[in-house]
């Protein structure tokens, strides 16, 4: 309870909690589209691909200002996305391999540059290093304001183009037939995800960013059948994980913020998968057991009727004809 009150009084905790909550909201909202478009791991690839951008931005400008570095990160992440798209479109290499290729080679290049920088000028690498694991604890008010502006713009775009993004995600071919160019809309959506990743780098870092996009969306999907509600819930779950992770890590000096946010988030995901009404796995077990007893009880002579435990979701096969 003490820590809870410190949210409002303690300067550091307030910044950390606000920053993490912002990240949770932005990545929760954008993650919904990524997950529904089956691009859950795109965020992972993007966040890794952003690393060399940080190093290059520093090498070019000599500045360690977060805005400069994050701009570099965004550009590198964006180039990474375009490369993934190109590889998938123009070669027979599948999407997951393309993700892995961009992720690992960009990241390796980033590490190479970071170590190069540190050898050139010992004192300076410390500032760049923190983007690997994120250091929410070092967030200051100006960082939070930057995050709020970036995230706000991203959310605004989603708000304005909500109808188009929904159509793109559900039925890209139909979208194209109506004149909404799915290719360009897709690039715009990915660009917004890059913004979320850029916000996340400071807070949870490169490695854990994947979960910030996927987790809230997957959890939210279990509770509702409406996209609008799913997006709202994902934002809420993301923010809740962010704030609780921040509080836990502040309560114990040894605990890093990023991993605690992810562990809080994982708890929410597991709870949602198990207990969400309608889609919760636990209720499935219950239903199945009840059906079994029902079937056993009613299995008198002549009553071979048994409700099949059918899956309500029809299996969907994709693209049967070119």
């Amino acid at each position: 309870m003490d820590t809870f009150w410190e949210l409002f009084t303690d300067y550091t905790l307030r910044n950390v909690a606000l920053g993490s909550a912002l990240l949770g909201i932005v990545s929760g909202v954008l993650g919904c589209f990524a997950v529904l478009r089956r691009q859950g791991l795109l965020g992972d690839a993007l966040s890794h691909a952003a690393l060399p951008g940080i190093a290059v931005a520093y090498l070019l400008t000599g500045s360690k200002a977060p805005l400069v570095l994050l701009f570099g990160a965004g550009v590198a992440g964006w180039i990474g996305t375009l490369l993934i798209g190109r590889i998938v479109r123009d070669t027979r290499i599948s999407e997951d391999s393309a993700l892995g290729i961009v992720l690992s080679t960009f990241f390796g290049f980033g590490i190479l540059l970071l170590t190069y920088i540190s050898k050139q000028n010992d004192a300076n690498q410390a500032g760049l290093d923190k983007y690997l694991f994120g250091q929410a604890a070092t967030l200051v008010a100006s960082n939070v304001i930057t995050m709020a502006i970036l995230g706000g713009v991203a959310l605004l775009v989603v708000g304005i183009l909500y109808k188009e993004f929904k159509l793109l995600t559900f039925d890209p071919a139909f979208a194209a037939s109506l004149g909404f160019n799915p290719h360009r809309l897709g690039i715009l959506l990915t660009t917004l995800i890059v913004v979320a990743v850029v916000i996340g780098l400071q807070t949870v870092g490169v490695v854990l960013m994947a979960a910030m996009l996927v987790g809230p969306a997957v959890a939210a999907r279990q509770w509702t059948h409406s996209l609008r509600l799913m997006i709202g819930l994902a934002a809420f779950f993301g923010a809740a994980a962010g704030v609780s992770g921040a509080i836990i890590s502040v309560s114990d000096a040894n605990l890093p913020t990023g991993p605690m946010i992810i562990l809080s988030l994982t708890t929410i995901v597991i709870a949602s998968l198990l207990f969400a009404p309608a889609r919760g796995i636990v209720w499935d077990w219950g239903r199945r057991r009840r059906q079994r007893t029902l079937a056993l009880n009613s299995a008198g002579p002549g009553s071979g009727l048994m409700l099949p435990a059918t899956d309500p979701r029809p299996s969907v096969k994709k693209g049967d004809e070119q």
Partner: protein, 370 residues
């Protein structure tokens, strides 16, 4: 052995061990599983450290391998609930495992040498200093022994189960009907991937294992259609990246692991551009050639389609062709010139007519593509 030579040799061994398995991961569209496993190993290592009450190679290995298998199982379980897509399942499981590992490290081993940096970067630079002793006898660098054995294990695995792996990769259904369990094979492959990842990341770090698993295999996939050739090429590209990466690192005075991963990307990029069959340059050039070639075929088919119809007279006029087929007049001229040169069509007043040779080719085009 000089320090540099040991580093390069270690790199080549890591690359070979990874590339052997990587080919199957790339072909089975499971490349990102190696990413997931490489991150998930952390809590396993911590667990091993906890059980052995200190750094113990074998226990650490076991812990990490167990963590790898847990990850794979969790991903499968999540996917099988039908509530989470495959890629989302991966995106949930591995960050959770990594976060758990980081949490355990910071909570219980805050002062111990098990820092996450080493797990990300690896320590191939020190390969020649960490030596394996039996009694007092110095057997040489430990990393060489580990990676050498892993290479051997993977070679044995791929060699023994080559037929089954190939079948399960290209036709899982058939494999199942023939009595090979694709699921069992899947877990066996994943187990070997886990062990290899554990061994490799002590040398090159967690994320760079992914580079060596996937990138050389994908590079090779751009050059050949044959699995044995692909495996050989992948090993070759991995070794090439290891050696060139070492020199790049020397040049820039940076991380060897980072440089090796960078070089896998450079080789991939070069092949992506210049592969004779799949390369972008070749494809671009081919598209240009094929465009004219294909346009000539289109012209012939067009003429044949309208040969005996009432509107044949208008359909085969030169001016009409360029507007109907939506070709620019110069392009239409080029195509018609080509067809005239090859005696596929002949000019009759202001219209074109198929020669018998041209008709043959039009029919062949329809047959061939139909």
């Amino acid at each position: 052995m000089s320090t540099g030579f040991v580093i390069m040799l270690t790199g080549v061994l890591v690359a070979s061990a990874c590339a052997l398995l990587g080919c199957f991961l790339v072909l089975r569209r499971m490349a990102m599983m190696s990413d997931a496993i490489s991150h998930s190993i952390l809590p396993g290592l911590v667990g091993g450290y906890f059980i052995a009450q200190g750094p113990n190679l074998l226990v650490g290995f076991l812990g990490a391998a167990v963590a790898g298998l847990i990850t794979i199982t969790l991903v499968e379980v999540l996917k099988n609930t039908g509530r989470v897509g495959g890629e989302s399942a991966i995106g949930i499981v591995f960050p959770a495992m990594f976060a758990l590992g980081t949490f355990l490290v910071s909570k219980y081993f805050a002062n111990v040498h098990l820092d996450t940096d080493a797990i990300l970067y690896g320590s191939i630079e020190f390969a020649s200093f960490d030596r394996l002793f039996i009694g007092d006898y110095d057997l040489g660098p430990q990393a060489l022994w580990i990676m050498g054995s892993l290479c051997g294990i993977n070679l044995l695995f791929v060699g023994l189960f080559y037929k089954e792996l190939k079948l399960a990769t290209f036709d899982a259904g058939l494999a199942a009907t023939l009595g090979f369990s694709p699921i069992l094979l899947h877990y066996a492959l994943m187990a070997v991937v886990s062990i290899t990842t554990v061994g490799a990341f002590t040398a090159v770090g967690a994320i760079l294992v992914v580079a060596l698993m996937i990138v050389p295999a994908a590079t090779a996939y751009l050059l050949t259609n044959r699995l044995p050739v692909m495996i050989a090429l992948a090993v070759g590209f991995g070794a090439l990246a290891a050696i060139s990466g070492y020199w790049l690192a020397i040049l820039l005075d940076g991380s060897v692991a980072g440089a090796i991963a960078t070089m896998t990307g450079v080789w991939f990029g070069l092949v992506l551009l210049f592969s004779p069959t799949q390369g972008l340059v070749a494809k671009f050039r081919r598209t240009g050639q094929q465009r004219t070639q294909f346009a000539a075929d289109t012209l012939l088919v067009h003429l044949m389609q309208h040969e005996n119809t009432a509107i044949a007279a208008t359909e085969s006029q030169v001016a009409h062709l360029s507007s109907e087929l939506r070709w620019t007049p110069p392009f239409a001229e080029t195509v018609i010139g080509l067809a005239l040169r090859d005696h596929l069509v002949e000019r009759q007043a202001d219209r074109l007519a198929l020669t018998s040779h041209g008709r043959g080719r039009a029919e062949a085009a329809l047959e061939h593509h139909g």
